[in-house]
Structures are given as C-alpha cells and as structure tokens.
C-alpha cells in the first residue's frame, strides 16, 4: 500500500479509540441503515404495488360502482374487443355451520366470474389448477381459518349457502380498497351468489367490471368511459394516483420517512460536531505532517482517504443491518400486502451508502480543508488561527446542500420542510426556554448554597451547550412520549369515548319484506333497535331552481352535493337526534316535509322554509325544511342528513338499516339472527375496529423501530455534545480543586448541573408532549384532551437519569495529581 492510504488507515485505526470517532461511525452507520431500509421498502412497495398495479388491480382498467353495473353500459363495452369479467365485493358475517360456539366472523366476500383475474395471479395453498373456486367451494385467507378454527375441506356458512373450503388464499390481486382490503377475504364463484341470498337488490356492495386489452384499447375505453361516469362510479387504472391499498402503505412509508428525518438530522449533527472536535484535535498533527514534508493536497487526501475507508466499512455494515431490518419489517407488513413484494432494484441498495457518503463528504470537507491548510508555525506558537470567512461560507453551503439532499431523498419536500422548520424552531425555542429556566433556578440556589454560586458560573460557561442539549433532549422525549402514548391510546381512547350503550352491530341490506319478521325477532329477544329505510337520492334543487348556480364555489365542494345522499323517512324523530329548531311533524303532512342536519344547513346556507329538491331514481321529489336536527355522527347509529316526513318516499325502492348493542352472552343472538336471516349483512363493529387496530399496531411497530434508531442517534449526539465541553470541564474542575474545592464538591456540582438540566428538559418535554397529544386528540379524534400525569414524572426522571449517566460515564473523576498536570499543559 502506498504511503498516503497507509497513513490514513493508521490514523483511522488509532482514532477508533476516540469517542468522537466512535460517535461519528455510529451515527453514520445508523444513517446508512435507515436510509437503505426505507429506500428498499419504498422501492419494493412501489414496484410491487404501483408499477405492477396491473397485477394489483387484476386488470388494466376497472370500473368500480356502488350500484349494480348498468346493462346498457355492459353491452356497449362488450362490443369492444376487450376482455372483461365481473366481480362483486361486500362485507358479510360468515360462520362455522358445525359449531354454535364460535361467533361469526366479519369478512370481505368477493364473488367473481371466470376468467379471473385478468392480470396477475391468485396464489393458493394447496395449488389449484383453476383461477376461481368451483361452484360450492370457497378460498379463504389464513385469518379466517384461524379465527373460525376451520381447516381446508371444512364447510363454512355464508347466507343460506354452505361452501366447502378448498384452498387457502395466499395472495391475490383485486383485493379492493379501504376497509375492504383490511378485512380477511373470502373468494367464491359469482354463480353461487344468488343462492346464498346475501346480496338482494338494493344491497350495499362494490360492483366491479374488470377490463384488459392492448394499451390503445384501454386508453380509448378509458377516454370513452370517463365522461359518462355517474357519481357512484369510479374508474381505476394503472395510473399512479389511484386510491389503492398501495396508497395506504405509501402513506405509511411517507410517515416512516418523516420519522427517519429526525434521525438523519441528529446523525448529521453528530457527524458535524464529531468532525469539528476531531479537526480541533488534529490541528497540531496536521501542522506536523506539513512540517515533515507533506503538501496540503497530500494531507487533504489522507483525511479524505480516512473518511472513505470509514465510509466503506460502514456501507457494508449498514447494508447488512438494513437487510436484516428489512426482513423484519416485511414480516410485519406481509399480511397486509396483496402479494409477495418483488426484490428491490440493485440501485435501491445504493441509496444508503450514497447518502452516507454525501453526509460525510459535505460535513467533512470544511473541517478537513481547513486542517490541510494549518500553518506549520502553529507548531512553534500553539495558537489556533481563527476560521476565515471562506471556510465558514463553505461550511454553511455544505450544510445547506446536505439539507437539500435529505429533502430530495425523502421525496416529500414540503412535509419534510415543514417538519424541518418545526424541529428547528422548536429546538431553538426549547433551548432558550430551558436555559432561561436554569438561570432563574440558579439564582435562589446561589443565595443559599456555596455550590449554587459555582453552579451559576457553570451555567453561564456552558450555556451554549446547554441550549443544544436541551433542544435535542426535549424534542426527542416529546417524540418518544407522543408516539408511545398515541400508539396505545388513540384507538382505545376513541373507543372509550362512546357511551356504554353504543351499538356494536350494524345490520344493513334489510329488504322491506324482511322487516316485520326481523322486528319480531328483535322484540322477542329484547334487542333495543329501530329500523330506518334508506333511499338514495341526489340533491339538485333549491327553492324550485337548480341548486348549483345558487351556491359559492366553496359550497359546491360540499360532501352533500358530491355524492348521492342516503335519505330516510320517519314518523317520529330518532331518539338519538336532537331537535334544534323548527318543529317535527306529528302525523303525515299533506305536503312532504324534511328535517335537515345542522351542519348541512350551515354549509349550504339553508334556512327553515327553504325547499329542497331531490332526484330519486330519475323522479323529482320536493320538500320544505321544517326542522333542524343535531346529529352525533360517531354514535354508531343510523344517521341521515335528510329525513322525510312519512308518505313522500314510500313508493321508492328502499333497503332498511338498524344498529344495536349486544354484550357478553347475548352476542350469541347475532349468530342466531344470521341463522334465521342468512341474507342480512351483519357488521360486527368490534371486529371491524380490531382489524383496524391490528393494522395500526403493525404500522406502530415499524415506526417504533425507526423511533428507536432515532433515540440512539439522540443519545450519541448527547454524548458528543457533553464530550465537546469535556476539556473545558476538566480544566475547570482541576482549577477548582487546586483552588481548594474538594473532588467531592466538583462531583456534586456536576451532579447538580445534570440533575437540574434533566429536570428542566423533562418538564419541558412533558409540556410539549401534552400539547402535541392534545392537538392530536382534538384534530384527529375529536376527543377531549386529557392529562397524562405519569408523563410529568417519567420524563424528568428519564432525562435526569440520562444526563447524569452520560455525564459520569464520559467524565471520569479527576485525581489531584492529574490536576496539576492538566493545568501545566494548558498554560
């Protein structure tokens, strides 16, 4: 090996023992690992879900509708030379016909025609040689087998029909979007659907037409269909902006990346400070090497080699750790994915090492450049010349460049920028607040204790480091507390907020002829519930004229106009609605009257006495607003924007809906109800929520991992900041000891300083965590924020312990004989 790399290697090896290099290496390692991990995940998700979304969709183009597909339209598409197939998907409860013990399970049923799917393939266990279950058979996902304790070959009950489970569904395209994709899935042949009776006319379900053909055909078809779409229809295609499962995961990934930003920033700060300290310590050495005959280019090369060697080793290490974390995360996410993710592109593996290199070079170049220009005369005088303007300018532009690189890497520049600004502003703010509090607290201490006076001096001397340390610790602890609490709390708090009589079952798709039987079933079993009819209609007139021209652009975007409304009628006001204004009809009025929900009144600027017109199945129905209702939308009861007086809507086709609560033993009534009325769609809300909770927990686990790494970054950074001031602290301690203080006193001073710092930081973190959580509660859940008293104990304790521990680990106690030496070498 030639001289320069050898010197670099030697230098690196001897510096591995210094804390600043260890910190630098650790920080870089974490940065490389995190970056690689997230890029790998992102790349595979993107390739697996978006680029190959033909497989995900199961087709090239999908027409998705909340109503049965229009026959005219089907006919017109049939004339085109594209392949088509039809799918219906809906929620339903299924049960084990052989057992009355196991409660029914909420699943998402997919009934498809052959050929299915048109793109991608269904993977089953055992492998099947056709793409769809035969008549009378069903393929189910593992979760169904587990929960119902069924095995391949067993029967399951869906509606009136029983199906033999012929295979386990490992992965399949066309899972549907939103809740449909979270629920365990069941696949049957569409020819079995009618017999099961679960899907009567007017039932709520998602009806899809899958289409496949040449790109030109598909483009033409898409262009043709797009303008004719009704508002209950959507076209899903290969374009990336579609609401696929991929988007939910994509959002999750974006969230993870933002979480990683903090870790990357902390790493960058650690690297910056480590290199700064490194270059300070290298001053004499550089001057010496220059004096021995190296020129500054050679010296620069030595330091660059050193960084590169370190980087090379870390890149390998980082790739290895990223690969193992990647398989961990994949394990967590696998049940949520429609199919096995493809391997990442080789390029994705490069991102982490590349970012690590950029970080090291950009942060390393300024100190290294100034190192290579040290005047040799430094050896004679021992002074450190001040940094010149150009060096500072270089440093600032390098840091900015790095920030830009990070933003680009995260691919969500706006969100990242906001987060960056938030962190910076928050950090500066917390730093100054913490320092102000510390100074305030030290005053009374100074009046009472000798140690207090020394503390005052110490605080003044260390103020810059204290600001940085408190900023980092407060932000970290806030993050930790918020993620920890929201992970466990948010969903359970949201659930706990509902009164104990909140319904936990919904029944939908009740056909008019089933009403009276169902009513008697309810009464016989003392189930407290009320049935409401549902008719779909579109609001199109206000006071006899088209409504759209009468509204502001803002109002035109309102939910109530964008889609069809669920309308209902009732003789009596629903008990769970509050009458806010006007009066409720006492009998069937001559002219139709309506009661409108309060928010809709406000949003559309309506007033009592206005007349609203609805298009219901092509017919116009007009009614006067005679009352305003307050509706608790999250009550898990049937709720409607508009309720008609009796007599106006009875002639239109309707289905009925109800909800009720069953607890403990009485949950068996749900099973009985399904047995007696197999075609009803019963939705178990508890099951629905726990399916959601599982999903949130997986996401939580993944982000906890990123957070854990962030925390490690924070700890390393703290160690480095404490180390920066260590020389000064040692010198000060030595001075104090020679001036008559005992070693015990200087130790107590350190203890007091760290305890106080930790306490203040912990309290500030508690405050900011409570504020953040309160914000989250209000904004996301509409739940009254509550205090978390244990936070106010744990956080200060945690941060004090942390400061004291790191402080004492780094700063070994000073012996008196060392003091003199230290003082001599400083003079």
């Amino acid at each position: 090996m030639s001289l320069l790399p050898r010197l670099a290697l030697r230098q690196l090896r001897s510096q591995l023992r210094t804390t600043e290099w260890r910190a630098l290496l650790l920080a870089t390692w974490i940065a490389i690992t995190l970056t690689t991990l997230l890029t790998l995940l992102g790349d595979r998700l993107e390739r697996g879900l978006l680029r190959e979304s033909a497989n995900l969709l199961g087709a090239d183009l999908v027409l998705s509708s909340s109503r049965p597909l229009d026959n005219d339209r089907l006919a017109s598409i049939a004339t085109q030379d594209v392949q088509t197939t039809r799918v219906v998907q809906f929620p339903s409860m299924i049960s084990d016909p052989a057992s009355t013990e196991t409660p029914p399970m909420l699943v998402s049923v997919r009934a498809a025609d052959t050929p299915y799917p048109l793109r991608g393939e269904i993977v089953t266990q055992p492998v099947q040689n056709q793409a769809l279950p035969d008549k009378g058979e069903a393929w189910v996902e593992a979760r169904i087998l587990e929960q119902l304790e069924l095995e391949i070959g067993d029967l399951l009950q869906l509606g009136y029909s029983q199906f033999r489970i012929s295979a386990e569904l490992i992965s399949s395209p066309d899972r549907g979007s939103g809740f449909r994709s979270f629920s365990p899935q069941l696949l049957i042949n569409r020819s079995d659907l009618d017999a099961s009776g679960v899907l009567a006319p007017g039932s709520r379900a998602n009806f899809r037409l899958l289409m496949a053909g040449s790109p030109e055909q598909i483009a033409a078809l898409e262009a043709e269909l797009d303008p004719t779409l009704a508002d209950y229809e959507r076209l899903l295609s290969l374009r990336l902006d579609q609401p696929l499962t991929g988007n939910t995961l994509g959002n999750a990934l974006a969230y993870l990346k933002l979480a990683a930003l903090t870790a990357l920033l902390l790493s960058a700060l650690t690297i910056l400070l480590s290199l700064r300290r490194f270059s300070q310590k290298q001053y004499t050495r550089s001057a010496l090497l220059l004096n021995l005959g190296l020129n500054s280019e050679q010296l620069l090369r030595i330091y660059l080699y050193q960084l590169l060697i370190a980087w090379g080793a870390l890149a390998l290490l980082g790739l290895a750790s990223a690969a193992s974390l990647d398989s961990l995360v994949q394990g967590w996410l696998s049940t949520l994915l429609p199919q096995q993710l493809p391997d990442a592109t080789p390029l994705a593996w490069l991102s982490g090492p590349a970012l690590g290199l950029v970080m090291l070079i950009l942060l390393g170049l300024p100190p290294i450049l100034s190192l290579s220009r040290v005047p040799v005369a430094h050896l004679l005088r021992g002074d450190t010349p001040p940094q010149d303007r150009r060096a500072r300018l270089l440093q600032i532009s390098c840091v900015l460049l790095l920030a830009l690189t990070l933003l680009l890497f995260l691919r969500a520049p706006i969100a990242a920028l906001i987060l960056l600004a938030l962190l910076l502003v928050g950090g500066v703010l917390f730093g100054y607040i913490a320092q102000a509090i510390l100074t305030r607290v030290a005053e009374p201490l100074a009046r009472r204790l000798l140690l207090g006076r020394l503390l005052r001096l110490r605080l003044r001397q260390q103020r810059r480091w204290h600001r940085l340390q408190s900023a980092v610790i407060v932000l970290l602890l806030t993050l930790l507390a918020v993620v920890w609490i929201s992970r466990a709390d948010l969903l359970s708090e949201w659930r706990a907020k509902f009164p104990t009589d909140t319904p936990n079952y919904f029944v939908i798709n009740i056909q008019p002829w089933q009403r009276s039987d169902l009513d008697s079933f309810m009464q016989a079993n003392a189930i407290d519930s009320a049935l409401y009819p549902m008719i779909r209609g579109r609001l199109n007139q206000l006071n006899g004229k088209p409504i759209r021209p009468q509204l502001t652009p803002d109002q035109l975007g309102d939910n109530t106009l964008r889609r069809e409304l669920n309308l209902s009628w009732a003789l009596n006001k629903p008990e769970h609605n509050e009458l806010l204004n006007g009066s409720w009809w006492s009998s069937t009025p001559e002219q139709p009257q309506i009661s409108v929900e309060q928010d809709m009144m406000e949003d559309l600027g309506l007033k009592l006495g206005d007349r609203l017109g609805f298009d219901i199945g092509g017919q116009q129905v007009d009614a006067e607003i005679t009352s305003i209702r307050g509706v608790e939308w999250t009550s898990f009861r049937p709720n409607f924007y508009v309720i008609f007086s009796p007599g106006a809507l009875e002639s239109y086709p309707s289905t009925w809906i109800t909800s009720f609560r069953l607890e403990g033993e009485r949950k068996r009534l749900a099973t009985e109800m399904l047995q007696q009325f197999p075609s009803l769609t019963l939705v178990d809300i508890d099951q629905l929520l726990s399916q959601l909770a599982t999903w949130l927990k997986r996401l939580g686990d993944s982000s906890a991992m990123v957070l854990g790494l962030t925390l490690v970054c924070g700890l390393i950074l703290m160690a480095v900041t404490l180390l920066q001031a260590l020389e000064q602290r040692r010198f000060e301690a030595a001075l104090m000891q020679t001036l008559g203080a005992s070693g015990e006193q200087t130790r107590r001073l350190d203890l007091l300083e760290f305890l106080l710092l930790g306490l203040v930081c912990g309290l500030l973190a508690g405050l900011s965590a409570e504020l953040t959580l309160a914000g989250l509660h209000l904004a996301l859940l509409d739940v009254d924020p509550k205090l978390h008293p244990w936070l106010w104990v744990t956080l200060p304790a945690l941060s004090s312990a942390f400061f004291v521990l790191t402080g004492f680990l780094i700063r070994r106690p000073l012996q008196l004989d060392q003091c003199y030496r230290l003082l001599r070498s400083q003079s």
Partner: protein, 229 residues
C-alpha cells in the same frame, strides 16, 4: 543542484519587522532586523520568554510572512515563492526540532523517523531510519511507541527524524525546554555532534545561556532588537 548551493550565505534577512494587530491595538514585536547566517554555522538566539524568538524563527524558516522586510533561504527569496514552493523548499532543506517533541503517537519510534523519508520517496527508508535511531542510541527501542518513551527519548527520536532527511538547515526551538537539566545536556551533546558531523546550519532558540555558549554565535532578542553577544 542549483547554483545557490555554492553561495556561503544560508539565510539572509533584511529590515525584518513583525507586528500584530490585536484587539488592544498594534503590537510591534520587532522592527528592522538584519541578519546573515553563513552555511554550516551554528547560531543561538536567546531572549526572555515572549521576546519574539519563536516568531523570528518562523519568519527565518519561511513559515510566516514578515510585516515588512525580506528573507532569503539558500538564495531563494521567500516572499517570491507561493505556498507550494515554500513547502517544497522546506522539504528539501529544512528540519525542525520542537520543545514538545511532536511525535505521532500511533507510530513507533522507527515509523516516526521513517515517515519524512517516505514522504520524500527515499530509497531505503526503513534501513535509514533504523540507522538514525542507532545514531541517537535508540537502536533497541525502534518498536516502541512515543507513550512508552521518556521525554528525553522522545526528543532523541525527534532529533533522529530531523537529521534523517539530511537537511542543510536545522531549526530547534527550545529543544530542552520540557526536559530536566541532565537529560537536556545529553540531548544537546547529541545535537551538536550530529550537527558537526553533517555540516548542518543550526539555528537554536533557547533561554539557557549555558547552552547558547556552545554555539559559534549568539544573538539576543530584546525589546524588538537583535544584538550580537
């Protein structure tokens, strides 16, 4: 070899001044110093601490630029050279010995001496370095690290390192400043022995007048003026 090698003058300083602009105002360290050092001569600069000896040395070695005046080393006018040329001149002709030894801690004694030879691309650096360590009486300690050597031994390694490149000009800034008297004396013996043996031009800074007596010439830096003693 350039023709300057033939000239009897090793260093020539003319009207050399140095001042610093500090926050408290301008500090004139010295003004109008003239000095000629002939080839092979040994010269001691004495003076109180803070008199400006080290600063003068760094000017004479071309490590620093004077506020006014000029310095020539072996016929090269320092102010006409750029940084690279100065570094090159130093590499070819000049060695230093410092008060605090300045060895690289992660290199053995042998590697410390070898380093400047390797930097210059010498033929047989390992052999030469070993020879020079023998010369200063550390032949047995070649594989020891600086931390395993006493102060005097470290300074001997530094002397071996300084002579290994066969400089024509050697600057020593208080080489015994960190050593006890006894050790200091043996170090100085060695320094003068090698100096005589190699015919090196030696500029030695010290505040020890006994040590200064061993040089052929002595100059005192006092109140900004250089006077022969």
């Amino acid at each position: 070899m350039d023709q300057s090698t033939l000239s009897p003058t090793m260093i020539e300083a003319q009207a050399l001044s140095k001042h610093f602009d500090t926050e408290a105002g301008r500090v004139d360290l010295f003004t109008g110093i003239d000095l000629v050092v002939t080839r092979g001569e040994s010269l001691a600069v004495i003076g109180r601490s803070g008199a400006g000896k080290s600063t003068l040395l760094s000017l004479l070695a071309g490590l620093d630029t004077p506020s006014s005046g000029s310095v020539s080393i072996d016929g090269h006018r320092i102010e006409t050279l750029d940084d690279r040329q100065r570094a090159d001149l130093r590499a070819r002709k000049i060695s230093f010995i410092f008060q605090s030894f300045h060895l690289l801690p992660e290199l053995t004694a042998l590697d410390n001496v070898r380093l400047p030879l390797e930097i210059r691309g010498a033929e047989n650096p390992k052999h030469d370095a070993r020879q020079w360590l023998d010369e200063v009486g550390l032949g047995e300690r070649t594989d020891h690290y600086p931390s395993q050597l006493s102060g005097g031994e470290q300074q001997r390694v530094a002397i071996a390192r300084a002579f290994a490149t066969r400089p024509s000009l050697l600057f020593a800034d208080e080489p015994t400043g960190n050593l006890d008297e006894e050790t200091g004396r043996t170090i100085i013996d060695q320094l003068f022995r090698l100096n005589a043996q190699q015919g090196t031009t030696l500029i030695l800074i010290t505040h020890d007048s006994e040590l200064a007596m061993r040089c052929q010439r002595r100059l005192r830096l006092h109140n900004g003026a250089l006077t022969e003693v």
